[in-house]
Symmetry: C3
Subunit: 371 residues, 3 copies
């Protein structure tokens, strides 16, 4: 059966190509592009492996696994970039991941799903609980930026301390949302949740697997192998990023906000669109909203703490326009998802919002010493 995941797997060819490019000293743009393309199928297989293992481990542990490894690709790329000192690219990719999941992933899902079905419905309760957490997460994540922007000058040290304090609160909130969804209020999420989890695993594969016989050692090996390969490819990507983007006529800011997140989120993208076209909008919306929530509540604060440990000056002080862009994306995504219905026009509106934000990032003069 030919599906999106299978098509993505063709991209596995770029793994040897990018490795060859690296050792044979091909030009930076070539290594940059091939390593980016190589990460896409690896991310998809990491996702599949995580979900297969999650099915075996049962809802509680499996959910936790999903929650932790769900954005593993983005986390690995960001950690490698952080280690290389590309702080602003890391920040831009966080912004870009949130925007990309809310507008691009959800937009394509609603558009392509909506072209097939006149009107699609999903549980507004899930959208709403997520929306409240999302509002908090985004606001908290962007508060240090607001403090800096509304004062005549705050010391780097104070921004650093504030970012760490906020990060600890966010990780705490993330823990509470897991406790809520997996322990105390599972029933809110339970509607078809088990079925959906298998559905999700199926949608990532060729559909033939029977879950009575999940091959656990195989999937653990796949997960570890892909993680390792993603790390290697991220090294290639990051080491060539600055020269390559310059030669391609782009700013590192634009690359961080638009290109890196598309690579990192390709798997979610494929999954969300595939299930939307099967009229499983609950799952599709969950993937898009859940992924952006994880970035804000888990990936971003972990990177702040990691930066502190690594001695890199990572904090939550973003470019003010990133604040505007994220705020605007959350607003539009909320207003479109809050009624539990979607159609092709709503998908188009999300994509149009992504497009105009993309233009704005393209024309935004770089001011924070990026690029």
């Amino acid at each position: 059966m030919l599906n999106l995941q299978n098509i993505l797997s063709v991209f596995l060819i770029f793994i040897p190509v990018s490795i060859a490019g690296h050792f044979l000293h091909w030009s930076d743009p070539v290594v940059f592009i091939t390593s980016a393309l190589a990460i896409i199928p690896l991310a998809a297989w990491m996702g599949t492996a995580t979900e297969e293992i999650a099915v075996v481990m049962g809802p509680a542990l499996g959910g936790l696994l999903n929650a932790t490894f769900g954005n593993a690709t983005e986390l690995i790329i960001a950690l490698v970039a952080l280690n290389a000192g590309l702080i602003d690219v890391v920040k831009a990719s966080l912004t870009g991941s949130i925007i990309g999941n809310l507008l691009l992933v959800m937009g394509f899902s609603m558009l392509l799903g909506g072209l097939k079905y006149k009107e699609q419905t999903f549980q507004p309760i899930v959208a709403r609980v997520n929306a409240s957490s999302m509002n908090l997460a985004v606001i908290a994540m962007l508060l240090p930026t607001a403090v800096d922007y509304t004062s005549t000058g705050i010391s780097t040290d104070a921004i650093q301390k504030l970012s760490i304090a906020v990060s600890i609160v966010l990780i705490g909130v993330y823990g509470l949302t897991l406790l809520f969804s997996m322990k105390t209020h599972t029933y809110l999420y339970d509607i078809d949740a088990d079925m959906d989890l298998e559905e999700l695993a199926d949608s990532n594969l060729d559909g033939d697997t029977e879950h009575g016989e999940v091959n656990l050692p195989l999937w653990i090996t796949v997960l570890l192998g892909c993680t390792l390969l993603v790390a290697v490819e991220s090294e290639f990507l990051v080491s060539t990023l600055e020269v390559a983007t310059e030669q391609l006529g782009l700013t590192a800011f634009f690359t961080g906000v638009i290109l890196v997140p598309i690579v990192g989120n390709a798997a979610e993208h494929a999954t969300a669109v595939t299930v939307a076209m099967k009229d499983k909008m609950d799952l599709s919306v969950s993937v898009a909203l859940g992924s952006s929530l994880q970035i804000a509540l888990f990936v971003a604060p972990v990177l702040v703490l990691a930066g502190y440990i690594m001695g890199q000056p990572m904090n939550l002080n973003f470019n003010p326009f990133e604040l505007v862009a994220v705020g605007v994306s959350v607003l539009i995504a909320n207003s479109i998802s809050s009624d539990g219905r979607s159609n092709w026009l709503e998908g188009s509106l999300l994509l149009a919002a992504y497009l105009v934000l993309g233009f704005a990032f393209y024309f935004h003069p770089v001011i924070d010493g990026i690029g």
Copy 2:
């Protein structure tokens, strides 16, 4: 039968008066005020003619006609002002039209309707679909401002290119919303839509017309004649605007944001209030929300493209306070219209919001070289 439209027709007397004033070289404030008053009934008759012709042409073509000519008055005034190089007045009038429709028109409708009926209801779905499009439109329209405000300096050329790119996306989105409402999802809007269209035509007239016998040539003549006269009066209005507002002790900014939109939207105003007092809130809310949506998705981008063709430096870089005012208006209008119910207090809240914004514009020191 005496109704609002008939009362407005009394203002037709100002057409000869303003023409006399122009050729007899009366003082600028007199020509300014008389030409403004002359435009009001002309706009009303243009609206009536458009709707009469629309009824004959059937839902599809008629809807398209309504969608294109709905804000013809504002568009003509703006094009004349643009041609005269009053860029900031044009921008201010766009902001003011959006604010005026959302707060002043909807506010008076809900207040006066609510004084007659304890609680009025309307389709929340229409409000909601409009709200999502509106959020996108407003955000897109104001993104260039945000880019400029959050950077230390973006070149005029980049703002121009960004504005054109955003305008093309907005016009595309406008086309999609027409396709959605007139072709693929008509049923969402169909509830009493035909009846409402006739109702709308009736409300603009004296109520005696029988639609079996619409006099098409007559109405086309009326439409063309009024369009021509609006253009002439706009010339008088624009050519006296700067001197007149100064002599009246106002800034051109205040005139652009408050006075020009009141003149341009008087017809919508009359219609929305009239039908609200007949407890047709669906129609009333549609007129107010639809008109502001048209400004943001159609009139504003058309003016940017027209400015480019005319060689006038029109773009979407507004005064930051205009961004605040529009954002705030959309927020309040959304929060009040989203539940599909209205009462006199909600109308009063909208009017109070308009009032405080008016104060703020009055006291706002002019910074963008306006006036």
Copy 3:
């Protein structure tokens, strides 16, 4: 019966202690802290007395009394501080009261109520009407700040005039909301309203009172006596505030935003939490939302007018970060309260938002000449 109110009454001991401290010239931090602790039970008894008298006076007059004296404590502290020229502390305490009611009070209510009951419900209509008024109030209150922030310089005189104009509109809107809730649309609020009012009175007391025999002279005496004592303690608090906060290592800004409102709102806090734990979420949410609405629509504009009369330069030009903080709080509170349901996670999210805002205020460098 031991309840929160009784526990608070233990704090009455701080009245003589703080008086002694004042006359015996104890150190400023000691007088500051003891007078703060003394105000808490006084505010609670003022609230109780107001509600007891309101029960006797009937819904209309009683409601008006509640509406006027509901935030009497905050008003008294603010007037004393205003008289002492601590303008920025007054402004900060207004911001802090709104944030504190929306996030801290509602957060603790939803968290503690939610730990006892899996899901709690309340009338979303009340939350919604309040939300619209709240949006308007907050926006109007913060417009002068936006005007100042988006212009290169507005004269103090213009800000003053704008603030007075906005204040008059706000007080007018406050009058309209009272007219709406007490006269024209009482039925919207009537569901259990009478019962709730007695419930409220009971919850503040030991539960033994029988309302057939309310001792009116007693309660009037209590109200007047407490008002007097609050005024005295406010004098102690304000006169020691600057030195004490400095010695405690805090900025006056932080004290104004966080500490003063906690003292001023302790009574609402106790009431809202107590009734939430009895699963009376309608009442709990009303107290929290109503109190913040009163601050924005009544207390803030009264202080502007009072400042004008006193010759103190009080206006509505806040620190821009206060604008961000209030906007963010309203957004989160709206998104959590709009569906008429609550659980412990939503309470935690509100508290987390308060916590991160607290961090941000703590690290915010003081720029407006505060402290």
